[in-house]
């Protein structure tokens, strides 16, 4: 089930809210757990058992780590089980097909369906066992509370990657208030609008481009820019919805995006994009490997390990690895000398540098395999002999120009800044307008959902 569906919005969510607030405090986590398992069951009936098994493994490993004097063994065991399951379900066919290509063998592919959200909940469970192992988190002795943390439906399938320590306290006791719920509603509805009105609309352009026999260089750029905006509004919209839903139920989830397209360097971009993943790799991979407090060679190794894993986490294809390593190279160059060089350049040049890299990187990200990467990049730069433009390109440009403009402006901090400025001067008026605006937005989104069946979600495959 996805948030931007009628089943979720007008059946699941209201039913869960009624149940959740009807039961006493001690039963609230149980309600959330049951609701979350049902939420997962709807999308993945069989794999719900895998998620329960993973939760049980994390829970038992937590107890083991708590009881063990030498915590390395149980922590290593939790990593083997977690990464083992992730590797089996997500990466088996990648390894098999590469072995087949390398040694000419004919090992059959497993063709396993990817369990939704496995990359997210595996990392959440590992954050728990790592932190218990390091003494940063207490062992959770209540399985319901622990499983509720792992399965919590607001962040189950697409993050943000909520570490156990982020909500450890809230799992025991949390505040339910109109403030929390009202602000949660705002965040949720705005996220829903980002997802349905912008991301889904731009996705239609992507589909039109994909099936068009009349591609041109300009159309390729239009599609690439639209995809870049789509993936931002898709993922950040989903994160907003998750954070908003969490807030309704009294949880404070970490932020996942901070207007990444205003960055002036790739280093800054990754401080603003999918922040919970970046910080997870920083805290659980990069720093344990020694971070930058090692020899230069090891430091370079650490950077590439992290960015190899970042790419690989996103998908079991070489283009994802190339995508991750591209950022590894760029970050390394920026750390070595490029950042100083960029600092001397005008601001707009630095923005252009970042956006050019990001757009190209998402072309690589969007490809299905390396051969398509080469084709797409050749098309983009006119190497494959495409015409520059044609009538259908101009039509699509006109059709989506305003959406792209809204997307471009909406991806900057301009609107939040403007709202805050207005709030300072006309706070009371804004407080009247806001609920009306949110209600109108919710109804408009509902219209989009009711009318159309085109509602893909990009991060499902992770």
């Amino acid at each position: 089930m996805i948030f931007s569906s009628v089943s979720f919005l007008y059946y699941f969510l209201p039913a869960v809210i009624i149940l959740y607030f009807a039961v006493p405090k001690r039963a609230k986590n149980l309600v959330l757990l049951i609701a979350s398992l049902f939420f997962y069951f709807v999308g993945e009936p069989i794999y719900v058992l895998l998620m329960i098994g993973s939760s049980l493994s994390g829970y038992l490993h937590g107890l083991w780590i708590g009881a063990a004097k030498n915590k390395r063994l149980p922590v290593a065991s939790s990593v083997i089980v977690g990464i083992g399951l992730l590797g089996f379900f997500k990466y088996s066919d990648f390894f098999i097909s590469n072995i087949n290509s390398l040694v000419g063998s004919d090992i059959g592919l497993l063709k396993l369906a990817l369990p939704i959200g496995i990359s997210f909940y595996t990392f959440q469970i590992l954050s728990y066992t790592f932190d218990v192992g390091r003494g940063r988190a207490d062992v959770q002795k209540n399985f319901v509370d622990f499983a509720a943390y792992v399965a919590l439906f607001p962040q189950l399938i697409a993050g943000p990657i909520v570490r156990y320590t982020d909500i450890e306290r809230e799992l025991k006791t949390r505040t339910h208030s109109f403030e929390n719920f009202g602000l949660g509603v705002r965040r949720f509805v705005l996220g829903l609008g980002k997802k349905v009105l912008i991301a889904n609309t731009l996705a239609e352009l992507g589909q039109t481009f994909l099936y068009s026999d009349e591609k041109t260089v300009l159309f390729c750029w239009l599609a690439a820019i639209a995809y870049t905006l789509q993936i931002y509004f898709d993922f950040s919209g989903y994160s907003d919805m998750a954070i908003g839903l969490g807030r309704m139920f009294g949880f404070r989830f970490p932020e996942n995006f901070d207007h990444p397209f205003v960055s002036k360097s790739i280093t800054e971009f990754w401080r603003r994009w999918h922040m919970t993943l970046g910080s997870w790799f920083r805290d659980y991979v990069y720093i344990p490997l020694g971070g930058n407090r090692v020899s230069k060679l090891k430091w370079v190794r650490n950077i590439f390990v992290v960015w190899f894993l970042t790419g690989f986490w996103h998908g079991a294809e070489w283009n994802f690895i190339v995508w991750g390593l591209l950022f590894g190279v760029l970050l390394l160059l920026e750390k070595l000398f490029l950042a100083k060089l960029l600092d001397r350049l005008p601001r707009f040049v630095r923005h252009i540098y970042v956006m050019f890299i990001i757009v190209i990187s998402f072309v690589i990200f969007d490809a299905s395999g390396m051969s398509q990467v080469i084709t797409k990049l050749s098309d983009l730069f006119g190497i494959s002999g495409l015409a520059f433009s044609n009538a259908i390109t101009i039509y699509q440009l006109k059709n989506y120009a305003f959406v792209i403009l809204i997307g471009a402006i909406g991806s900057t901090p301009l609107m939040p800044w403007l709202v805050e400025k207005l709030r300072d001067r006309f706070g009371k008026v804004l407080n009247v307008i806001e609920p009306v605006f949110l209600a109108a937005l919710l109804l408009l989104v509902t219209g989009y959902l009711v009318d159309g069946s085109f509602n893909p979600f990009l991060y499902f495959r992770f």
Binding site: V6, S7, I17, E44, F181, G182, E214, I392, G427
Partner: protein, 367 residues
């Protein structure tokens, strides 16, 4: 208003909306049909262990929930308004509006489909039509008059003619592009309006050796309104409806419409179908595989077979004015080898293939 009050209003407003809509959706009885979309709506899916564990129940439930959503058409209007007025997009589900008329994008041109249509004409001719006078025409869809002019992707209608001419064997082409203008089509429907087809009908008749001398004043116009065409519902916007006009006179009143499927005879116009799923069905009772119109007032030895789509339904009454018998075959609804079981082609003198450009561009639908 204080922040706290705003938060309370936001909380209560959200809960009222989502819980309220949930309750109404559960309580409202399900509907069978969507008149505006001209389709059956999804019903509550089968609920058992197999459908639940396979996930099929939940997938089908979402489809059901979308179809049975309270005030569905109103919500669809919200979306259309959002797309056109908020996001400034040029079309909504391929539907676009120009000067209060509704159009549906048809793009791109698929040459293989056009050639495929020509081949199906040829196969039909080889199978049944030897020795008859064979003609074909191309009915342009109304995009031809507005799409390109207004910046929308448009089919290359000249190329359709060229491809057909190159591939259709031993048939005479009767071009009607220049006999039509945008005003000859309904604003809310895909079709042309019967009262505007005298130019087309006379040109076709004279090209096929008949007189082609029909005059508007020889007919009585009857109107039915409001006519909400098929694009009206798809647009989900409050577009001004059309008026449906059908033409009669003593000769047409004396004609008989025979339906080969049911074996029943009826008048040419089924006015009782107006206001139903498709009001255009008034003309010759709508989509039928095999029909014939017998005109006892004509005795010129000429009879015609028209291979046609729904555009033929409103045109054929005019053609029937100068034929003893006109038989209509819709190649979308009957396999070629079945046609011979119902029709003896040796009884006819002329054959006209007339499909509109959209059918030609999607000729896989022809059997």
């Amino acid at each position: 208003m204080k922040d706290r009050t705003r938060n309370i209003i936001q909380t209560v407003g959200f809960l009222v909306l989502v819980i309220g809509i949930m309750i109404v959706n559960i309580c409202l009885p399900d509907t069978e049909l969507s008149v505006s979309e001209r389709r059956k709506l999804k019903q509550f899916p089968l609920f058992n262990a197999d459908t639940v564990t396979s996930g099929r129940f939940f997938t089908e439930f979402e489809d059901y929930a979308l179809d049975q959503f309270v005030l569905r058409d109103t919500f669809r209007s919200f979306k259309a308004l959002g797309r056109f007025n908020l996001l400034m997009q040029k079309d909504n589900n391929d539907i676009y509006l120009v000067d209060g008329s509704v159009y549906k994008l048809e793009y791109p041109l698929k040459p293989n489909m056009i050639v495929g249509a020509a081949n199906k004409y040829n196969a039909m001719a080889d199978m049944y039509l030897e020795g008859l006078n064979l003609y074909y025409t191309i009915v342009p869809d109304k995009n031809m008059f507005v799409a390109e002019k207004n910046g929308y992707p448009s089919l290359d209608y000249a190329l359709i003619e060229k491809l057909m001419a190159e591939n259709v064997k031993d048939m005479t082409y009767i071009g009607i592009y220049d006999k039509l203008t945008l005003d000859d089509y309904y604003r809310t429907d895909i079709h042309w309006a019967q009262e505007n087809l005298f130019g087309v009908a006379n040109h076709l008749l004279s090209s096929m050796g008949a007189e082609g001398n029909l005059k508007k004043e020889d007919f009585t116009a009857h109107t039915l309104s409001p006519f909400y065409g098929s694009y009206y519902g798809q647009s989900a916007l409050a577009v001004k409806p059309d008026v449906l006009t059908y033409l009669t006179n003593d000769i047409l009143d004396g004609c008989t419409l025979h339906d080969y499927q049911t074996g029943k005879d009826s008048p040419l116009y089924a006015t009782e179908l107006f206001g139903g799923m498709d009001s255009y069905d008034v003309f010759l009772s709508g989509a039928k595989a095999l029909l014939s119109v017998t005109n006892p007032a004509v005795n010129n030895g000429k009879s015609l077979v028209v291979f046609r789509d729904s555009f033929g339904s409103s045109l054929v009454p005019l053609l029937a004015m100068e034929y003893e018998k006109v038989t209509l075959v819709d190649m979308r609804y009957i396999f070629p080898n079945m046609i011979g079981e119902y029709i003896d082609f040796s009884e006819y003198t002329d054959v006209l293939f007339m499909y509109n450009s959209i059918v030609l561009n999607n000729s896989a639908m022809l059997r």
